[in-house]
Every structure is written in structure tokens, then in C-alpha cells.
């Protein structure tokens, strides 16, 4: 009974966020356009790099483009639609603005994480899908796999972001720390993990889950492996469950800000 209602709420929340993002057309197009340019610049860098050194640890330009496509689409969905999992989300907790989400008869977690949007992140989605289609030229199965794995990446990034933001329940304003941790995840997600030593790889599959978010998906798209696919899906589900537990545990420590405000 509750699941369909929650799914409907999530659907409406995403639809509302998309409409809110597009309310200011010029601003939307500008932000999206500049994010596409930003991402494209990195592809230019890698094109230059691979024009000089064609293969690095078995990675080609196409692999790095796929890595960027998965990362960009994942981040686009995560930060675009669920803006409060960005480090700035800690401000909502610290300033007592969680009251708004607590006072409504809807899923607090979904409502909170979907309570803000990042317009520029929609440019990531556009870039990710566009560059994957243009460079990799996938067939229908590959495209389907890409979308599913990018959504898994999005859930991993949302879960990780939520745990980082939830630190604010215990440690106060953790926005600066959260920014550094997020930067680490973003940066490591966009480089081939085969460059790094085993100990660093272990870290990137545990503390900073860049390995599951982008690296493993790229290897699956390159050559489908049902076992790896299952591992990614299971890791995604486990991390989402862990993040939910951390958030609700932290929420018990939340102190109201007695703030009377409307939500824009």
C-alpha cells in the first residue's frame, strides 16, 4: 500500500524539480550549456592525451569517454534531482530547516533529498547521454545497460552524499569537510582506477566508492559480465540501505530550529 504511494510521490517530486529547473529558460539553458562545455573540455584533454599515448594500462579513449559518460549521467541525476545530497545540504540540518520536511505527511528522506535542485547538473545528464551515443555508438542493449548502470551510479552517489550530509547531525556544520570528501569522490570517479596501486583501489571500493560508481560499470559495458553486474546492483542496494539507516539515526538527534518559513 505504502510503496505505490511513495513511488508516486517520488515521481511527482522529480517532475516538480524538473519543471522548477526549467522555470527560468535562459538561466536553465545557460547553466546546462556551460556544464556541457565543462565536461567536454575534459574529453578534449583526454583526446589530446590519447593522441600522444594511445593506450594507458589497457584503457583507450573510448573507455575514458564511457567512464565520463557514466560519471556525468550519475552525478547529473543525483545532484540535479536530489540537490540536498550535495555538501550544501548540511546547512538545512544545521539551520533547523528540517522542520519543513518533518511536518508533512510524506517520506521525510525522499522529500529532504529531493528538496533542492542543481540546474547545472542537468547539463551533466545531457553530456553523459550525448557523448556516450556519439563516441561509443552503442546498440540498444548497450544503451539499456548504460542507463541502468548510470542509475546505479546515481543511487551510489546519492547514498554517499546523504551519509556525508548526515554527519551534520553529529558534528554541526560539516559543509567544508563534505565539500572535500565530495571532491575526492568526483575526482576519483573520473580517472581509470587501473592507474592506482592495490591499496588505493581498496580504498576506492570502500571508503570512497568510486570503483562501484564508475569503474566497474565501464568494465561491464565494455564486456558484459552478469556476476559483476549483480555485484554492482547488490552494492548499490546495500549502500542505499546503510545511508537510510545513518540518516534516520542522525535524525533522532536533530534539534528543531523553531523556524517559520515557506519552502521555495
Amino acid at each position: 500500500m505504502r510503496l505505490p504511494s511513495t513511488a508516486r510521490f517520488l515521481g511527482q517530486l522529480l517532475w516538480f524539480n524538473l519543471r522548477a529547473a526549467m522555470a527560468y529558460r535562459v538561466g536553465f539553458i545557460t547553466s546546462v550549456g556551460f556544464m556541457v562545455i565543462n565536461d567536454a573540455m575534459w574529453i578534449i584533454f583526454w583526446s589530446l592525451f590519447f593522441s600522444r599515448f594511445p593506450v594507458v594500462r589497457g584503457w583507450t579513449l573510448e573507455d575514458v569517454v564511457t567512464l565520463w559518460a557514466v560519471a556525468a549521467t550519475g552525478y547529473g541525476v543525483a545532484w540535479g534531482f536530489f540537490g540536498n545530497v550535495r555538501p550544501e545540504g548540511a546547512r538545512v540540518i544545521v539551520s533547523g530547516r528540517m522542520d519543513y520536511y518533518l511536518s508533512l505527511p510524506r517520506n521525510v528522506l525522499l522529500h529532504f533529498i529531493g528538496g533542492a535542485i542543481s540546474v547545472a547538473s542537468f547539463g551533466d545528464i545531457l553530456f553523459g547521454l550525448g557523448v556516450f551515443a556519439a563516441v561509443v555508438r552503442p546498440d540498444a542493449a548497450q544503451l539499456g545497460l548504460f542507463i541502468v548502470l548510470s542509475l546505479c551510479a546515481a543511487v551510489i552517489l546519492i547514498s554517499f552524499g546523504l551519509m556525508v550530509v548526515s554527519l551534520a547531525f553529529w558534528a554541526g556544520n560539516t559543509e567544508g569537510l563534505g565539500l572535500q570528501i565530495s571532491n575526492a569522490l568526483i575526482t576519483f570517479s573520473t580517472y581509470p582506477l587501473d592507474l592506482f596501486s592495490t591499496s588505493v583501489k581498496v580504498m576506492l571500493f570502500t571508503i570512497i566508492p568510486a570503483g562501484f560508481a564508475t569503474y566497474v560499470p565501464v568494465t561491464i559495458i565494455r564486456e558484459f559480465d552478469p556476476f559483476r553486474f549483480l555485484i554492482v546492483v547488490m552494492f548499490t542496494a546495500a549502500l542505499a540501505a546503510l545511508a537510510t539507516t545513518v540518516f534516520y539515526t542522525g535524525l533522532r538527534r536533530y534539534e528543531s530550529g523553531s523556524l517559520v518559513a515557506t519552502q521555495g
Binding site: M41, F49, S51, V56, G176, N183, L195, S197, V200
Partner: protein
């Protein structure tokens, strides 16, 4: 015995110059002290440098090993990592509110600033140095330490320091003028942040921040050398790690010409904008 009188007309310019210099030195010092008042913030930012240096160290270690060459683009592994350390320090040291001229134009604060007894652009220039110097040095300290740690060697020699320093000073001055020019566009466009964004991306690619220009395809290398972006990033970094007396004059000349052109554009834009300035209210 009284000292012989010095004609006022001959003494005044030198005195005025010293006074002017002292005025901007005070601006520099105040700005420097403000930056130094928050050391934790300054060092916290270097965490990102740590990540970047680690990643680029891994990338270049792998590339050198796979290519089986002692040098790439004329640089050894140690020089390459120091090159990245310097380019990253240049880019990351720019203060976040470097676009405050943009804000002052849009809010009208510029009208008040112009009424004050200083040259507005020189004031901002002195302020930029006070803010940027400690940021640059802390970023470079961390980046260079990591470059040495990851490569096992110091990629900058004494002659590199001697040749790199003047190039760095010119580079930061050019960067200031380019950012100022972009900020002044606020007289005509609503938001100049996207222009700065594009400028930064050009520095990243065409400036040679991530890849020395020698590793570019020939045509692109020629284009990148002509454009002003390489004068901000590539030239100082290359001079530090690969000092070449023969090349120094050419590269410094490129920077000086770039500086002159950008200064003329920035000044012309500022004077033109000044005439357009309208102040409303009190």
C-alpha cells in the same frame, strides 16, 4: 648652516611616487594580513591539491613506464610532476572573489570606490597580490612536496627558480588583467561568471595546465602558443622546470607583449565603462 633649497618642482614627483607606492603597499599588507588571519582555511584547500597530485603522479608514472622513455615533451618524470604542481598552484591560488569588480559594477559600489583617493585598478592589483601570494605559496608548498615525494627528486633547479620567478610575476599580472577585463563586461551583460568559467577552461586546456604544450598536436601547439592563456600557465611552469636561457628571452617577450595588449584592453574598457557609470541614489 642651512641645507640648500631644492626646487619643489624637482622634488615633488619623486615624493609623490614614494607616497603612491606606500599607499598601495599598505593595501597589499592589509590584504595579506586578512589572508593570513585564516590559516586553517588556506591549508584545508590544499586537500584537493593532494588528490590532484596523487592522481597525476599515478597517471604520469604509468605513462612514463609504458612509453619506456626517460623524457616526455622534454621533461623527466620529476619535472613533469613539478610542472603540474606549479600549474595547479597558479590556477588554484586565484581568490574565489576575484570577480568582485563584477559585483561592484552590478551593485553600483564601484561609484563609491572611484571617489576614493586611489587608482581603482592599482588598488585591486595590490589587493590581488596580498591575497594570492599566501594562497600560491601554501598550495605550491604542498604540491611541490608531493611532487618530490612521488618522483623522488626535486624538479626545479636554482636557475629554474631564477628564470621562473619573473615569468610567474608576469603570469599573475596577466591573469589579473584578463579577469578584470572579464569582470568589466558586467557593464554590458547581467552575469559575467560564465565568461570566467570559459576563461578557466581555456587555461586548463590551451594554457597547458594539464598537459605541456609540447605534447599537443603540432597545429594546436602553434595556436596555443599564440593565445594569451599559455602566458599565464605554461610559460612560468616551463621556465621553472626547464630553464633554458636561449628560450627565456622569447617567452618573456611573449608575456610582456601579452601583458601590454591585455593592459591596453583592460584600461580602455575601464575608461569607457567609467564614462557609462551612472550612480542612482545616495
Amino acid at each position: 648652516m642651512t641645507a640648500p633649497a631644492v626646487p619643489i618642482g624637482r622634488r615633488q614627483p619623486a615624493g609623490r611616487l614614494a607616497l603612491t607606492a606606500r599607499k598601495y603597499a599598505v593595501v597589499f599588507r592589509l590584504s595579506l594580513m586578512t589572508q593570513l588571519a585564516y590559516p586553517a582555511e588556506m591549508w584545508l584547500r590544499t586537500i584537493f591539491v593532494l588528490i590532484i597530485m596523487f592522481i597525476f603522479s599515478s597517471l604520469w608514472h604509468t605513462t612514463f613506464k609504458e612509453m619506456g622513455q626517460a623524457t616526455l615533451g622534454g621533461l623527466t618524470l620529476s619535472q613533469m610532476l613539478w610542472y603540474v604542481a606549479i600549474t595547479e598552484s597558479i590556477l588554484l591560488s586565484r581568490p574565489r572573489d576575484a570577480m568582485r569588480i563584477d559585483e561592484e559594477v552590478r551593485t553600483g559600489q564601484l561609484a563609491y570606490q572611484l571617489a576614493r583617493p586611489y587608482n581603482y585598478l592599482l588598488y585591486r592589483f595590490a589587493q590581488m597580490w596580498g591575497e594570492r601570494l599566501p594562497r600560491f605559496l601554501t598550495t605550491l608548498a604542498v604540491a611541490a612536496a608531493l611532487a618530490t615525494l612521488f618522483s623522488g627528486d626535486v624538479g626545479v633547479s636554482l636557475s629554474g627558480l631564477t628564470m621562473g620567478l619573473p615569468a610567474l610575476v608576469l603570469a599573475l599580472a596577466i591573469d589579473f588583467l584578463l579577469v578584470t577585463t572579464i569582470s568589466l563586461l558586467a557593464f554590458w551583460v547581467e552575469d559575467t561568471a560564465p565568461f570566467l568559467f570559459i576563461y578557466d577552461r581555456f587555461l586548463m586546456i590551451l594554457g597547458g595546465m594539464l598537459l605541456p604544450l609540447e605534447l599537443f598536436p603540432d597545429v594546436l601547439e602553434t595556436i596555443a602558443r599564440i593565445l594569451p592563456f599559455s602566458a599565464v600557465v605554461y610559460v612560468p611552469a616551463r621556465m621553472f622546470v626547464d630553464p633554458d636561457g636561449g628560450r627565456l628571452a622569447g617567452l618573456i617577450a611573449q608575456q610582456v607583449i601579452t601583458l601590454a595588449v591585455v593592459a591596453v584592453v583592460a584600461l580602455w574598457l575601464f575608461r569607457y565603462a567609467e564614462r557609462r557609470l551612472q550612480s542612482n541614489g545616495g
